[in-house]
């Protein structure tokens, strides 16, 4: 950052938050489903970005850099959750469908809930690619920049995800 004092750094960072927070929120929310979790991860993402702003390489877009941090934070959160769930025998793993049904901030219909259930069965990376392409309508080139994966591999990943989701629906139909 070119700004020398704390005040001007904060002002500059505020405009970055303003421009990117909503899009990042939806990306995180799509992965973790729960609003409070998404909000916490988003906060952590910006705290990480703020404390490491000097390491930001100006040759990439700030939004790409923020996406990478958000993805890392999200994956860390998911792994932590998985560990907690696997060691807590008093709290059996509740299915995604049940969780969404009781979530006041889920307003989808039955099919949309089933789609979320189907997406939850995908491996994390595949889920991420599917969400970015299907819901966020991002181009493969953009996703490639963020995830550091080739466009070809992303296309393969997306098609595999679509196939699995179709199979999921075929089973329940």
């Amino acid at each position: 950052m070119l700004h020398k004092d704390e005040q001007s750094r904060r002002r500059a960072f505020e405009s970055i938050v303003q421009a990117n927070s909503e899009q990042l929120y939806w990306h995180i929310r799509q992965m973790v489903l729960n609003h409070d979790d998404a909000n916490d991860i988003l906060q952590n993402t910006f705290i990480k970005a703020w404390t490491n702003i000097d390491s930001f390489q100006a040759n990439s877009k700030i939004s790409t850099w923020l996406y990478r941090i958000a993805i890392n934070e999200t994956l860390t959160f998911i792994n932590k959750q998985r560990n907690i769930t696997s060691i807590d025998i008093d709290d059996p793993d509740i299915g995604v469908g049940d969780r969404l049904e009781s979530d006041p901030y889920f307003d989808g219909n039955e099919t949309e809930r089933q789609l979320q259930e189907a997406i939850a069965t995908l491996p994390e990376k595949q889920r991420m690619v599917f969400n970015m392409k299907y819901f966020e309508e991002m181009k493969y080139e953009e996703i490639s920049d963020i995830l550091g994966t080739s466009v070809g591999a992303l296309k393969a990943s997306f098609h595999l995800a679509v196939k699995k989701i179709e199979e999921f629906f075929n089973k329940i139909d």
């Binding site: 020398k4 004092d5 704390e6 750094r9 904060r10 960072f13 505020e14 938050v17 303003q18 927070s21 909503e22 929120y25 939806w26 929310r29 799509q30 489903l33 609003h35 909000n39 988003l42 906060q43 910006f46 705290i47 703020w50 404390t51 901030y105 889920f106 307003d107 989808g108 219909n109 099919t111 949309e112 809930r113 089933q114 789609l115 979320q116 299907y134 819901f135 309508e137 997306f158 098609h159 679509v162 196939k163 989701i165 179709e166 629906f169």
Partner: protein
């Protein structure tokens, strides 16, 4: 028709989630409030002492003297060797000298023969 079109026609691609009322209105403010204090590191002015200023010249001079010393030693050894080689090459004994040496050396042919073998 792409495969994902089946899912799209069945489910659409709307994100079926909502947020608490006014969440996005205060989001930036909330995020900014949660940021820790950031200590901006001010660059200390570089102090250049007279010693620091002349140090590079001293290093350069030392290196130059070192090179000179090396060249001097190397050339001295080479010259020395050249002299000894030259001396060896310059040794010349005339046939008359050799004949007179053997005549007065009081050695027989047998001893002379073996002295040649030893030399070789």
């Amino acid at each position: 028709m792409k495969k994902e079109d089946n899912i799209l026609s069945k489910c659409g691609n709307r994100m079926p989630f909502t947020v608490p009322e006014g969440y996005f209105d205060n989001l930036t403010e909330n995020i900014m409030a949660a940021l820790p204090e950031q200590t901006v590191q001010k660059k200390q002015p570089r102090i250049i002492t007279p010693w620091k200023r002349v140090m590079p010249y001293i290093y350069a001079a030392a290196a130059f003297i070192g090179v000179l010393f090396f060249v001097r030693v190397a050339s001295y050894e080479t010259t020395d060797m050249d002299h000894s080689l030259a001396q060896e090459e310059d040794v010349y004994y005339s046939d008359e000298y050799i004949d007179s040496f053997f005549e007065t050396a009081m050695i027989d042919d047998y001893t002379l023969y073996y002295s040649f073998i030893d030399f070789n």
